[in-house]
């Protein structure tokens, strides 16, 4: 439709979708660079500084537009990616609408 209407701007789509069992995140742009997205799975590093974080157990996954701080090992979600998180695991796959 964007082509049909000669709209040259880029569709930007960094989204989170959940159903209570699985969490999905998409980082996509029709062209250009999509909005940033990061994830972290090992939250232990925060325990040393933020005592409250000692309550975060293993198997946690956090997906964010930008990192929550410098201590965690944040992984950038590559452009054109679908991330699925559930059961403490993260799966990445290519997301390229055809």
């Amino acid at each position: 439709m964007l082509t049909e209407h000669r709209i040259e701007g880029e569709l930007q789509f960094s989204a989170a979708i959940a159903n209570g069992d699985s969490l999905f995140a998409v980082r996509y742009a029709s062209h250009g660079t999509p909005r940033t997205l990061y994830y972290a799975t090992d939250l232990d590093a925060l325990q040393t500084v933020y005592e409250e974080f000692s309550a975060i157990p293993e198997g946690s996954v956090v997906v964010v537009s930008e990192p929550l701080g410098p201590l965690l090992n944040w992984e950038a979600v590559p452009p054109g990616t679908l991330l699925e998180a559930g059961g403490g695991k993260v799966m990445l796959e290519s997301f390229r609408p055809n």
């Binding site: 964007l2 709209i7 989204a15 959940a18 956090v62 701080g69 390229r96």
Partner: protein, 174 residues
Amino acid sequence: MCRWIAYSGPAIPMSLALVTPEHSLLVQSQNATEGAETTNGDGFGVGWYSGHLGTPGIYRDVRPAWNDDNFRDLARHIRSHMFMAHIRAATGSAIQRSNCHPFRHGNWLFQHNGLIPEFRRIRRELLLRVAPELFDEICGTTDSELLFYLALTYGLEQNPARHSAARSAKLKRC
């Protein structure tokens, strides 16, 4: 644009991800460092699954997140195994509660950072592609909510995220 966070794992007080971190979503609402805008003060929202109900709870409002004590309090007192939160920097749609993320349909939650270019020019055409049985649930005026209902129209509930989000993102056959 906007900023958002989503969590999946063992149940934790939501504040541990939303409020406590050094560069938490609350901090980002006033001082985002990687977004198109530094300030995300056009409303906020949080959605969470609580275990005893299939459908998620949501709490949204149009004031900036940093000005809402209830947001901090709820985040401290609600434990959840899956939740998401969003701070908004509007791209043209009105500042109203129904335009705040996340959006909810049944047991599904959706939040978005991005935009459909020249949305107003193609809004009506896109709206007409939403399934009739879903149309009445659209409460707001954002491109984000419309993308969610297009994903639902294209089978989000049957084909989690993959298929329907792809079709929505591509605006296929539009």
